[in-house]
Symmetry: C2
C-alpha cells in the first residue's frame, strides 16, 4: 500500500465515511481531505460549513450516524429556547455543534482564513489527517427551480430538496482561489493518489472541480485519480443524488456518474451490482461492496480504493 | 395603591428583584421597566444585553437566583465545546441563554430596534410588564484604571472588578436618543411614580440619567421619584457598588447614594440600619427592610415604595 500523500475530495456523509476509512488504513498524516464549501452559508450570524463539520465530527468519532449531520450525544436546549422566542428553527443547531460555528465565525471576523481555522479545529479534535476547505473564498451553490433561484441550504434543508431543479450553479467559483495545498499536491510528482469520495457528484464534488484550474490539474496530475460511485444498485445511498440526476435529465446509474467525471478519472470503484453496466467505460472499473455499513466496510473500501490507485500505475499485463 | 402607570429604572440583579415585586403588586401592564444598556456588548458576534436579559428572566420566573445572571436549569454544552476548540470562555453563555442573544442579533441585523425586539421577547416570555431599553442607540460604559480604559464587561466579568477605577464614562450617552416612551411617560401628568431600583447607581442608574434630557425630565416630572438604596447597613448586597464608591472617593453609605442622586429624587427608601445616617437629607426618608431575600420581601418592598410615592403626593400634615 502507498505511503505517499493521498488527497481525497469530499462532501458530507458518504464522503466522510470513506475519508474515515482512509484515515484508518493510511499512516497517520498521509491523508489530506479537501472539503466542499459550496454548501456553506451564514445563518443567525454564524458562518456554517456543513461538509467541513461532518468531516471533522466523523474523523474525530463525534459524528451522529443516525442523522448524518451534527454531533452524537448532542443536546437541543438552544434550539428549544430559540423556538420559544419565535426564531428560525429550520436549520437545526445542537448546543455543542453551535460552538464550532461560533468559534469559526469569531476567528473569521478576526481575519483568520477558513483553512487556518479548520486546520486548528482538526488538531484540537485530535485528527491526524488534514482537512482543508476547497477554497478560502466564498463559493455558494444555488439551484434553479420553477420558482426561481434558491440558495442551497433553503433548498436542501428547509424545502427538503422538494422543488424540481433544472440548473445547479456555483456562484463565485470562477473567481475563488482554489486551495493552494490542493494545487501544490496535484503538481507534486510524488503524490500517491487522488480520490473522489462517494459524495453527491453535482453538489459535493463538482463545486471543487469547478474551481479555476482544478479539473485540468486533475487531468494532468501524475497520480491516479480514483472515483467511488455514490450510486449503488441504481440508487443513491442517502440524499437527493438520484432525484437530482432525474431532474437534470441524467440516467440514475453509476455509469452516468462516471461519464459525468469524464477523463478526470483513471479508475472507478462501483458496487458489484453496477459493474456490468459500466463495462464499456474508459476508466478501469473495480467492482466492490460499495455500501459502507460498518467501520470495517469503510476500511475495506478504503483499501480497495488505494489498491485500485496502485494498479492503475502498474504497466498493463 | 396607585393604578396609574409606574416607571422603574433598573439595572440587573437588585433592580430586577424590585421590578419583580412591583410587577406582582401592580395591576398587570401598569409597570414599565427602563433597562440600563450601558453594560451591553458584542461577544462572539452576538449582541448581548445583560440587564435586559436579567429583567426578562426574572420577570418570567426563569432567573438563576444562585448566580444572579443567566437562566435557571441551564445547560453548558455550548461552553464546554467552545472551550475544547480554544474559544473565549470568560463570559459564560448557557445553551438556552444563547438563544436570546442569537435571536436578538438576527433581528437587530434585520433592522428591528432593540425596543421592538425586547418588547416582543417579554410578550413571548409571558411578561405583562413592559421592559424597554434606555435607548435604541449604543451607550457603552467604560472605566478608567491605572492601566488605561477598559470596556465594561472585560472589567466586570473578565477581571472581576479587580482593577482600581478612577473614572466611569458612558460612551455615546451624549448622542443617544433616550427611550421615547420614557420621555413621554415623564411628561405625562397622569404618571403614577418613577422608581429608581436598588441597582448600582454608578453603572446601572447613572447611564440612564446621563441620557440627554432625562435628568431634567425627572426633576420636572409631576410624579414622585422614589429611589431605593442599594446600600444596606453600609454594604452592597451584591456586586462591586461598595468597592466602586471607595475608589471614586465616596463614603460607602446609603446617604452618599442619595446625595449622588441629588434633587432628582423625592423619596428614599433605606434599610432601618441606614435611616439614622440619612436623617438630614432632602428627600423624604422611608425606613424599611431593604434586603429582598424572599418573593414576599420583594412584594413588601414594592408596596412600601408605592406607598412612599403616594405619600409624597399628599399635602404635608
Amino acid at each position: 500500500m502507498s505511503t505517499k500523500r493521498i488527497i481525497a475530495l469530499s462532501g458530507g456523509v458518504g464522503g466522510a465515511k470513506l475519508a474515515l476509512g482512509l484515515s484508518r488504513v493510511l499512516p497517520p498524516g498521509d491523508l489530506t481531505v479537501i472539503a466542499n464549501t459550496g454548501d456553506d452559508f451564514e445563518h443567525l450570524g454564524l458562518a456554517i460549513s456543513p461538509d467541513i463539520d461532518t468531516l471533522l465530527y466523523t474523523l474525530a468519532g463525534l459524528d451522529n450516524q443516525a442523522t448524518g449531520w451534527g454531533r452524537r450525544d448532542e443536546s437541543w436546549n438552544f434550539m428549544a429556547a430559540l423556538e420559544a422566542l419565535g426564531g428560525e428553527t429550520w436549520f437545526r443547531l445542537g448546543d455543542r455543534d453551535l460552538a464550532t460555528h461560533a468559534e469559526r465565525t469569531r476567528r473569521l471576523r478576526a481575519g483568520e482564513s477558513l483553512s487556518q481555522i479548520t486546520d486548528d479545529f482538526r488538531t484540537r479534535f485530535g485528527i491526524a489527517s488534514r482537512i482543508l476547505p476547497m477554497s478560502d473564498d466564498p463559493v455558494r451553490t444555488r439551484v434553479k427551480t420553477r420558482d426561481g433561484w434558491l440558495d442551497f441550504q433553503p433548498y436542501f434543508v428547509r424545502q427538503r430538496c422538494e422543488p424540481v431543479i433544472s440548473v445547479i450553479e456555483f456562484a463565485g467559483a470562477a473567481d475563488a482561489r482554489p486551495q493552494p495545498e490542493l494545487l501544490a499536491a496535484l503538481a507534486d510528482p510524488a503524490l500517491g493518489a487522488v480520490i473522489l469520495c462517494p459524495s453527491n457528484p453535482f453538489i459535493s464534488i463538482e463545486p471543487i472541480l469547478a474551481l479555476r484550474g482544478v479539473r485540468a490539474a486533475l487531468r494532468d496530475c501524475a497520480a491516479p485519480v480514483v472515483a467511488v460511485s455514490p450510486i449503488i444498485g441504481g440508487r443513491a445511498v442517502k440524499g437527493p443524488t438520484a432525484k437530482m440526476m432525474q431532474e437534470l435529465g441524467l440516467e440514475t446509474s453509476a455509469a452516468a456518474v462516471a461519464r459525468r467525471y469524464g477523463d478526470v478519472i483513471d479508475a472507478y470503484i462501483v458496487d458489484h451490482a453496477d459493474a456490468p453496466d459500466c463495462a464499456g467505460l474508459d476508466p478501469r472499473i473495480v467492482p466492490a461492496k460499495a455500501l459502507m455499513e460498518t467501520l470495517g466496510d469503510r476500511e475495506t473500501l478504503a483499501r480497495i480504493v488505494l489498491e485500485a490507485a496502485a494498479s492503475v500505475m502498474e504497466p498493463a499485463q
